[in-house]
Amino acid sequence: MRQALHIFKKDVRHLRFEIAIVLIVTAAFAFVSARRAFWLDDPGANRGPAWMMSQFLLPLAWWILIVRVIHAETLPGDRQFWITRPYEWKSLLGAKLLFIAAFVNLPLLAADVMIIGAYGFRPWAEIPGLLWRQVLCSVVFLLPVAVVCAVTSGLVQLLSAGFVVFVAVLVWSTALPGTTPGGSWGALDWVTLYYAILVAALAALPILIWQYAARKTWAARGVAAGAAIVAMLGGTLIPWTSAFAIQSRLSKQRFDVLAMHVEFDWERKWLARARVDRDEKQVQIELPLLITGMPAGMDAKPDGLVMAIEAPDGAVWRTTRKPWAQVSADRFLSLYSDVDAAFYRKVKDVPVKLRGTFYFTVYGNSLATNIPSNSRYVAVPRMGRCAASGPTGRDGYFLLCGSAFRWEPALVIARFVEPGKHAVNGIASHPLRRLQPLSYSPFPADLDINPVSQFFSWTTSPTKLSEVVIQSEEPLAHVKREFEIDGLRLGEFEVKPTSVLR
């Protein structure tokens, strides 16, 4: 420990200018981000470019500091003075980690406390989020950079490694578009993200320890490259349905879902469509489904769908592109799927069987919170803290909400309300804003440079609006239901392509 502190002190002295830069950038980031909390009082507080720049500069400053401190005792090579001195590898690694903790993690923690404090969050109530954010930032932004530094001997090698990674990602995303992980599963994207984070965490720290202990640079480079490939490629190999299964397992079913079923809505059969593309290569099938057995006061949100069409002769069409579904406000479910036109023509006049699995999330436990206009931040369940102002300027009414470290996975509707009118009364309500749940992640913080996610909404009204009502529903269960529709003749629903006027 004494040796680690000795090396740490040397690094502090050596890198005092770099440390100063990180502290200044962190302070600027904290100031600019905290000022955004007062946006409603002072429109100038939302200094967009300064905020954007601070979010970009902060990790850049971290990375420069990490590069400098790790390369102060370069690991690859045979000419460094320190390798023939009685350095304990544990002390050296400890000194470097202590340095990163002291000048990256700790200032970030202080900045987070300051930023969430500006919105009125109490730091001690947000300790899980504060700590988890430190874990995420360390695993995603700091440790991988430390590993790359530990297996490179200088800036040239480091930049070469960065260039190789950049080219690899570019080639991959160009050659295999659509296979980059995440980005298409909506609230379930966190599964692939956390898979990559888990791989990074499981690989980065052992590689770092191994490299400091043994200095087997080429082997460590190989393992690091392998881990990067596993992290990126593995995410694309996780089936969407597995992600949903993980989600279901991690979430408590908050009510009995056994009574819920999905079936074809025969009463609304007239809504069914089979739309033939103009080039007649694809046919889009739209079918009305019905969710039965859902308790009153609950809403369903579709997450995904897997479907196959079986012809009487045994021919089967399986959806190659992900089919999708949507639920209307009155709970009617529509299923959409593209079918190959050749298969469609073959089966359109015979009764076919549709088999599918529908994945959806049920929301309920509605809560409403009233926020008077011109109020300071107040706590809003499932939303964080919100402030409202208005009228300002040309009768503008504003709502600003901040959520510490992540949004809760709630469906939220915000409505600006006239005095004396009921919030949920459609006539009295002014433009509403609906937030889709951003993530079903069970962890207390999301991966983001900024510790507070902001939601902003505004409206204008010729009449005076007195308050904002924020209504939210929380996810109660993630449900998977199989369905089967027998005896459909798809040709009955055919809609010819409309000609386009030129």
């Binding site: 050596h14 003075f81 009685p86």
Partner: protein, 300 residues
């Protein structure tokens, strides 16, 4: 052998397809000043880097203070001083900060001696290492490696690129401060090594050609010139220890690598009979190595 500070046992090192060291066996007794010499690029620095556990051997092994070098610990390194001509130093440190920084790593660090070394080498304490000349940097490296009274001092080509004055200062400083420590030094500067080495090893094309005490080496190498009274007989096969044999009608000149007066004279009598003048001259180290290098190339 007990009492050996450094030992190499069938040590081998290969870089790709190139064999740099091949079956090296060597022992450096305690208190010796061992010079590892040989032409450039024959594996001297590789040997030292393996002995310092900077590089891993491809074959064989080595011991330092009786420990397998692969298990060399920071504790062992507190007893070893290492200086290399191409060592990367913490350029941003001043000489004084460098010394102060290293001090806590060594339980035996002698502050008085460190001051003395800085004075002796005339090192400017407040100057950054990056602003020192090559010679001054070598002095700083040596001072920082002598201040804790190491029991083994390893020097890799320390005199390369130094002017004569700095070289003398370094050697003087080393000898004054060695204080009974074992010194292992690699160099292709034979004249310098000759002046203070007690043991010598000759490395050529990855193989240690010999490793012995300096006194025995200089004893066994002699340049011999035989002047005939008549025409010398043509000899079809020379004794194996005779190197660089040159013969004219009345003169034969060679280097005997295993000189023993009686045996050498007996060989001369056997080949050339009586009635000749024999001049026997001791050889400087430099000439011995030139002879060996030429013989080695010829054999290759």
């Amino acid at each position: 052998m007990s009492g050996d500070v450094l030992r190499a046992i069938d040590l081998g090192k290969r870089f790709g397809r190139t064999m740099v060291l091949d079956g090296m066996n060597m022992a450096v007794p305690e208190g010796a000043i061992y010079g590892l010499v040989g032409p450039n690029g024959v594996g001297k620095s590789t040997t030292i880097k393996i002995l310092m556990n900077i590089l891993q051997p491809s074959a064989g092994g080595a011991e330092v203070f009786g420990h397998d070098l692969r298990r060399i610990s920071p504790g062992d390194l507190t007893r070893i001083g290492y200086v290399s001509e191409n060592q990367e130093m913490p350029e941003w440190m001043t000489v004084e900060y460098f010394m102060n920084y290293l001090k806590p790593f060594y339980p035996t660090w002698d502050e008085g001696r460190a001051d003395e070394l800085l004075r002796q080498f005339e090192l400017p304490r407040d100057r950054k290492l990056r602003h020192l000349s090559h010679g001054m940097r070598m002095k700083a490296a040596l001072a920082s490696s002598l201040a804790y009274r190491p029991r083994l001092i390893v020097l890799d080509e320390p005199f390369t690129g130094l002017d004569a004055l700095v070289r003398d200062e370094l050697i003087a400083g080393l000898l004054e401060s060695a204080d009974g420590a074992t010194v292992f030094i690699s160099s292709h500067d034979l004249a310098e090594i000759e002046s203070f080495a007690s043991h010598i090893g000759y490395l050529d094309r990855g193989r240690l050609q010999f490793s012995e005490e300096m006194s025995s080496l200089t004893q066994r190498f002699r340049e011999i010139e035989i002047t005939m009274e008549g025409t010398a007989a043509r000899v079809s096969e020379w004794p194996a220890s005779w190197l660089r044999v040159e013969q004219s009608s009345t003169l034969v000149r060679f280097v005997d690598a295993q000189f023993e007066k009686e045996r050498t004279m007996a060989d001369v009598r056997r080949l050339f009979g009586e009635g000749r003048q024999v001049d026997v001259r001791p050889m400087p180290l430099r000439e011995i190595f030139v002879t060996l290098a030429k013989a080695g190339r010829k054999a290759a």
